[in-house]
Symmetry: C2
Amino acid sequence: MHRKYIITDEWKIIEKGFDPALHPCSESLFSIGNGRMGQRANFEETYSGRSMQGSYIGGVYYPDKTRVGWWKNGYPEYFAKVINSVNWIGIDISIDGQPLDLAKVKVSGFYRELNMKEGYLLRKFTAQFDEFKTLEVEALRFISMKRHEIGAIRYSITPRGFSPKISYTPYLDFDVYNEDSNYGEKFWDEVFTSVASQKAINVAATKKTNFHVAAAMRYELEADSRHLTLYPENIKREKYVANRFEINAQAGTTYTLYKYAAITSSLNYPIEKIAEEADYKASEAMRAGFDALLEEQKKAWAAIWETSDIVIEGDPEAQQGIRFNIFQLNQTYTGEDERLNIGPKGFTGEKYGGVTYWDTEAYCFPFYLSTRDPQVARNLLLYRYRHLPKAIENACKLGFTDGAALYPMVTINGEECHNEWEITFEEIHRNGAMVKAIHRYVEYTGDFRYLADYGLEVMIAIARFWAQRFNWSEEKQQYVMLGVTGPNEYENNINNNFYTSYIARWCLEYTLQTIELLKNQYPKELSDVFQKTNFDTQSEPILWKKIISNIYFPYSEKYQIYLQQEGYLDKIQQLASEIPHTQRPINQHWSWDRILRSCFIKQADTLQAFYFFEDHFTTDEHQRHFDFYEPRTVHESSLSPCVHVVLAAKLGKLDKAYELYLRTSRLDLDDYNKEVHEGLHITSMAGTWMSVVEGFGGMRVRNQQLYFNPVLPRHWKRLSFKIIFHGRILEINTSHQGTTITRHTGDPLRLDLKGQLIEV
Amino acid sequence: MHRKYIITDEWKIIEKGFDPALHPCSESLFSIGNGRMGQRANFEETYSGRSMQGSYIGGVYYPDKTRVGWWKNGYPEYFAKVINSVNWIGIDISIDGQPLDLAKVKVSGFYRELNMKEGYLLRKFTAQFDEFKTLEVEALRFISMKRHEIGAIRYSITPRGFSPKISYTPYLDFDVYNEDSNYGEKFWDEVFTSVASQKAINVAATKKTNFHVAAAMRYELEADSRHLTLYPENIKREKYVANRFEINAQAGTTYTLYKYAAITSSLNYPIEKIAEEADYKASEAMRAGFDALLEEQKKAWAAIWETSDIVIEGDPEAQQGIRFNIFQLNQTYTGEDERLNIGPKGFTGEKYGGVTYWDTEAYCFPFYLSTRDPQVARNLLLYRYRHLPKAIENACKLGFTDGAALYPMVTINGEECHNEWEITFEEIHRNGAMVKAIHRYVEYTGDFRYLADYGLEVMIAIARFWAQRFNWSEEKQQYVMLGVTGPNEYENNINNNFYTSYIARWCLEYTLQTIELLKNQYPKELSDVFQKTNFDTQSEPILWKKIISNIYFPYSEKYQIYLQQEGYLDKIQQLASEIPHTQRPINQHWSWDRILRSCFIKQADTLQAFYFFEDHFTTDEHQRHFDFYEPRTVHESSLSPCVHVVLAAKLGKLDKAYELYLRTSRLDLDDYNKEVHEGLHITSMAGTWMSVVEGFGGMRVRNQQLYFNPVLPRHWKRLSFKIIFHGRILEINTSHQGTTITRHTGDPLRLDLKGQLIEV
């Protein structure tokens, strides 16, 4: 059974007392990262209890071959696995010949803290060898936000009541495995190792993908701040390098080992340079010293919080939850490297493989757009722009022609990295999210030039896909879209999914509008795009308009609602509240067959259209569709509650909004789905931000203008959040007394607060 | 490119000249088996060219773990692999220290023959070492139809122009692999080996499934019929035992090695006995001697042909084709062991895994029912009866209750052994085929007692499944069946598939009729079944009748046809003839996505209902549906053409019938689909029989009475086939002059020939 054990604190995630059963969960929750790499909260010293080792490097993956009983043409050939990489934290400790292993010694005073404000992981405990012999240990580590390739550890031991021999083995180990790998497969081959006194280098390459990664280490030891000279033994095994040395420790003295690791990869350097680079960076880090590195770290995090913090008064758990989400998002993606993206588990676990889902565009985009420099959101768009040729190739494999593009459902390199046809071939609505993100970016920033330089090219390719994907039905005398899977993945291969057809139509419309817009503003660039894409200015717009004007959308006269898909009402109609509690979540209790045939909805589907295209529908329509669909929704995707919070808040259903908010904001901290040991739900964390800012904050952007319409859950005293908008940092403060908006930087700005235009 | 190379002969499959590129195809075509085990036509001696080793034992499999990107509840956990078993044919030969290897020596006079009349494989060739040194080799082998565990080989070598040292290494080898296995996985563990002079035993067990298989061998050598005394060296390696000896051969002398192998398994004996049994059987076989064993073999095959031969005069290729089909069917399944069944590739390849598909009931059943003792067809039914508890368990996993059964799509042991949800969860029409086979059996044999003893129990469980699988649609005010895959696997997860709903309704009706029938004939047994199945004689029939009377069948007023599924006409309507030749078969050229969205039909779907329930429809309806659906059918299942032959023949479309017949009868011999190297299409071979007997022979059975309505393709001079009916062997002879029916055994019989009741 799930046990709530994280101690509430506004700026920290805290665990007190050591429970081995919870350790794998904590390993996820206390993960650290810097957008380039990340590390689960595994222990530095040996641990023989249950643990999932996880050290991940952005962009480094392994292609796991697809295997199905009946292979079909066009199936993606592999599933991109996020692989466990070098163990750089390892410091094996022996006390008088006995390994220090929390699974084997008596532990007291265990304390673990993820300091979100300053960006480090701290752990303290006392290991009790017998009544009179104890060892106080304190370990602090971080991955530097400033130095992208550096991790640093301060590991202190203080013996009490005895003066043991302490043996230290700091190491670098590529002989690691993935928890989800079959047949004990390993993914790394040794390339080169070198070990000398107090330094080592370990270079390995991934099988098949041949990514080269180098890890280098330095370390030093102090006794009560006094530097000790060491004469370590060098150790080399396959894919493993270490030093080992022993000291005669004195009771009451604190021995502090500083370990500095640098990890470089062939993504950033020529293969022949990575070892040298790693070695140099590790050495540079040690020269700077641990305290200076930690100081840099604190500053980097202070800058992040400066523009992205959210304050919730009157609800400490909600406060902790939202900061945890913001913290993890910033650990996962910093937006500086446009080759990287936001994995559903970030750097906290192996699950889902790949890295990039439509989550990025549909859920994460607004967070980065509002809390970071516009360059970050732009890099997220450019990531997809760079993948456009692969998306065209992907559509081509499926039989589409003339530059139509289908973005992959899951990718790490532009290729489709998932391998189930009902998702890769059919869950094509993701293409719409790509355009929606461009639209959002332009609406928010007013950077129309982006459309001319990059956006339109992507939009034309996607519009072409939609134009080919609709087909004319002689029977209906309308355009239909057959065989799709909507956002509600509890339906597969359905016809005329409202959301997919709706966003497809909107893509066609918006592309035509953009062409009109650029005709005036960027005629030269437009003509370049036409040439590059071989655009037929005659026939293509004609066909698109023809389709736009006559698409079949299933509609129920009885309920006065658009149907999620054609035939939805042939299903037995039930409400989620009728499902016995013991059968929830249904995806853990029901067969896939039963789920597919039920009316239950995994996550916002029709309502996703209402969220994305709010202004296309009347409030009455919002109300009717929400009242029909939400009660049929089981919210078994981490991405579901957030959209509903925004809609519920808009409709004044504050209790519903808060109930759903609880499901999203502390999903991982309270382990609602009993799966946090597998890693965190990173992309849904951005949805949590969205539910606060767009839901309770009521923020909207239309034509580069901000609108706020805040509503506060009853017991919240104050909600305050910051956003970056057109170069200004704005702080929005809402209490039950009213809302104030403060401009921290930049020129005055006009915006709409609760229907009134004000100047800030 | 495909090359037609098999030489036409009425009773033999013949290959002349050795082409290494064709060898893997020949390995399939020249396979031998006895219903218990089988062996591809691999060479006895070493062969370093392209080859797929294949030695298969009925019922011995390995569960290959299912792996998908997103695991869903209820997914079958494994895919049952047919595994390559002990190499018992191996006899390595060295000539003056040089291995005899057809990939490396010059070969002339290569001749390979599968003698279908007598049931053996013969191969002759001359190996040329230089201009003056040649070796004549002749190898003949068979797997005994009489002694189920025995294989025998006669291997003769005659040196010409030189007197070489010949080294022989007869062996038994379990260190084999599957061509389709990943990571070089092997499926056998060594259990026990023993080797002595001129005999050896090798016992191995399968991983995970722990089947134990023992192979034993004996051999002897003759020089020109003179027995030679040998002093062989014993060889043992992991999972491998052999003897090796050398002789100083004389030019012109023929050296003949007789090798006898016995293979026993834990399916038939206690594990501790299998080695002893194998050893004994091998010894017994050698005592009987090769010639006596071969004589037994010829007799056994003569008996088979006696009741199952088909003669086609005027079309030698058709003659060879139909005999090849009948021969392979009898090699695959003899009907004596009710635990075995008919794999789609029989014992000729690895593909498709599992063993039992609905092919057995829908396509193979009539062949065995008409050409073998009724016990054989009854054993096929009992196979499913024995699996009923597993079928109930299978339905239970999917959420069905109260004794509803869903038979697996693919099985080897009663469990679902396939692993794609759109097939296992949705291609549920297979349940209908189970009942159809019972119905056919009773119609043919009049064995109503079977219904009371076994049949009804299966039927009730299946009817319960259908009653739960239909659901009431408030919208349509009818019962609908959502989310199924019909026989046309080029559609997945469709609603209201005509075939599935139709056969489901028929199952409900036939079960109710059977209950009525048994009330009179077997009241005691009926009450036992009611008790055993906990049947509610009140509510269940009421519900079933309610469903029967109000099922939604999609229908087009425009075309006056039942639609394959709801919404079928929303697809772009095209004919198969419009597909460019270069894109056929579409499953090798189009993406699965494109195939799913096209209107093209893989195999009879709506027309399968017309085939099964011919008398439910008028000839006009037959005509309209055939004319609509057949042109949209690409026949890319080996099971497709046969059904269409029967329908076309009935509708008098003789040219169409013959065109389609060509696609089925020599599918493998002429390698139409360029895949014969993977193995033969065993189950479709029964479909070929069906197209001759039911199509051109026009045979039907209604209420235990035979009907014949023969029609002959223009250039066939005569068609003659035999069937067993109610204890009589009948021979039906049709020429363009008319039809005669001869009774070979038993009492006179009344039957209907071309609408006239006659007595034979």
